[in-house]
Symmetry: C2
Subunit: 346 residues, 2 copies
């Protein structure tokens, strides 16, 4: 069977209506409300075809039809019309970035709040991992045997951790290492540090044999900031307003899943599309507990460096057209703001 224009129209009408009402849609509703110019009986025939093709399904015999995941996918890929943001929405976004900000983390978090408020779904934001380039390192001896390492990145991110050091190490030893590191590493990103610069540092510190071990350890361990991603989740309660979550069990499984931060890394990592918005529908998320949810995600960046991902999590019945536009717009705004913040920090 082939998809023709009228089938597309019917599918479009059905999905639009279902997104708005959350109720199974019957043939008469489509015929009447969407002015198809044909009778309900004709629509019924088309719907039977669409069902056979797998785009819609019937919850039970005497109910209307509901889009299947495949139906949503077809809608997102081919039917969906671009939604332009209302003035109110534009205004909200613009004002969200007006306030003065202290650091990158704050901007990103505020983005999450805004995103969940505007869309009325949950927002997921992955904060910058160890992206950007090295700006400064400072080591502070906390007590004999342990020191605080603080690394400042050009993105404005600050990482810190406590490490053990040999008992004999003094603050001035730490200063020596810091100086060498700051001189050699500034402007390099973490990957190139590991590969090319170790030899130079080795040479530089050769007159301080006792510090070499510590310096190498630092590069190997403390600068390995991969574990530092931070997930921010906002507006989860929004999602509970959706009628598909009026069942406590569903809420429970969803929430217990959302508390496992690690899950999101694998989920969002697969967001390979380097620019543009990715839509993942129901089963495509590959998580049984989320087969009734969809995610709309996009990456944000400073210049060419991808910093992290923002996204919206809602029921499969979400208003894709609107959400995609909003995510697009917010990613643009966020990237711009970050760029503005970082201009010159290189």
């Amino acid at each position: 069977m082939k998809m023709d224009t009228r089938k597309q129209q019917v599918l479009m009408a059905l999905i639009t209506d279902f997104i708005a009402t959350a109720e199974p849609v019957g043939s008469r509703t489509i015929a009447r409300k969407y002015e198809m110019g044909v009778s309900p009986a004709t629509i019924r025939n088309e719907m039977a075809d669409l069902e056979e093709m797998g785009f819609i399904e019937q919850p039970h015999t005497s109910a209307g039809r509901v889009p299947s995941h495949m139906g949503y996918r077809y809608y997102v890929d081919f039917l969906m019309k671009k939604h332009s943001l209302s003035n109110r929405e534009e205004e909200m976004i613009r004002r969200g970035y007006e306030d003065k900000v202290r650091d990158v983390g704050q901007v990103v978090q505020r983005t999450g709040n805004l995103l969940s408020q505007i869309t009325s779904y949950a927002a997921v934001v992955v904060r910058p991992r160890a992206a950007g380039s090295f700006k400064h390192v400072q080591m502070v001896l906390m007590n004999p045997g342990s020191a605080m390492v603080v690394v400042v990145m050009n993105t404005g991110a600050v990482h810190h951790r406590i490490i053990e050091v040999a008992g004999g190490i003094t603050q001035s030893d730490l200063d020596t290492i810091s100086q060498v590191f700051n001189a050699k590493l500034q402007g390099h990103n973490m990957d190139s540090i590991k590969l090319t610069l170790i030899k130079e540092i080795y040479f530089e510190l050769s007159k301080h044999r006792n510090l070499l071990d510590l310096a190498m350890y630092l590069i190997k361990d403390s600068f390995d900031l991969d574990g530092e991603e931070k997930i921010y989740l906002g507006g989860v309660f929004n999602i509970l307003n959706q009628p598909e979550f009026n069942n406590v069990d569903k809420v429970k499984t969803l929430l217990s899943l959302l508390e496992q931060e690690e899950m999101f890394y694998s989920l969002l990592e697969r967001n390979t599309d380097p620019d543009g918005v990715t839509v993942r529908i129901g089963e495509e998320i590959n998580r049984d507990e989320m087969k009734e949810c969809s995610m709309v995600t996009a990456a944000y960046r400073i210049g060419d460096t991808q910093l992290g991902t923002i996204g919206v999590l809602g029921p499969t019945r979400m208003d894709y057209a609107r959400v995609v536009s909003i995510v697009e717009c917010m990613t643009r705004n966020l990237s711009q703001t970050l760029e503005k913040m970082s201009r010159g920090w290189k």
Copy 2:
């Protein structure tokens, strides 16, 4: 009417049973299950008295009785027996602190996870605010006109923020200020910095007139870290397992409340009891949305400095005896661990 021993026994039995079953408790259940040695009819008389006194109430005419907030309060204050932790629980707590840790924030967060796992309720943890004493400051010029200020505290906490500086300020200017600050401020806490040391710094920097403004601004603004508390919430979905939350509306109001972090500051601030555990029941939280919840909280500290608060949030029908013991035990362990971490960092 006066509270006598048998009334206490009845109240005790009723609360114990209600905590276990979440069902209104009838006279027969108490007489039979708790071997009171009297008939249900007698229990009925006692229950009528207890109701008149306000300790228990009846959801509807032909149901058993349920503890009132006043009843819980009496139970917590006078009746509750100390619950000793099972080996399994002790073991879990002990092992939670075994792993090596990188910084204070991590320990505190892990405590929250553990707390919610063991109790099966939600855990609330307020991370250290600007407690402890000043250890080190470092300023990094990010670009002409803006600088990163990083402050390290003796508690192992690291605060950072970006500030605007005059265009002419160079990295070596920043280093000058840092040096003065580090020399003068080390070991002082934030409060005494504001009061006593400004003059000394003023004097010290008088030969660098151009830096004075910046230095004063730093003290006034960047060291004012009050906004830096961080709430950690864990195991919220646990609370949904409680039968009192099998209603989606209740879940929604609770969740939307929990997303407002600010609320917790005022809630936990009033935890005036400097050591020991505070129990706040239902309406005592002073939040209409939480009148069916109770909180068990306690402060944790390094030495004499109170750093923050940990707590458990559950339904009023929570197992107070058990939760109080667990919170007590975890606070002790947490304080010890932090103390161990910080030994010598002064």
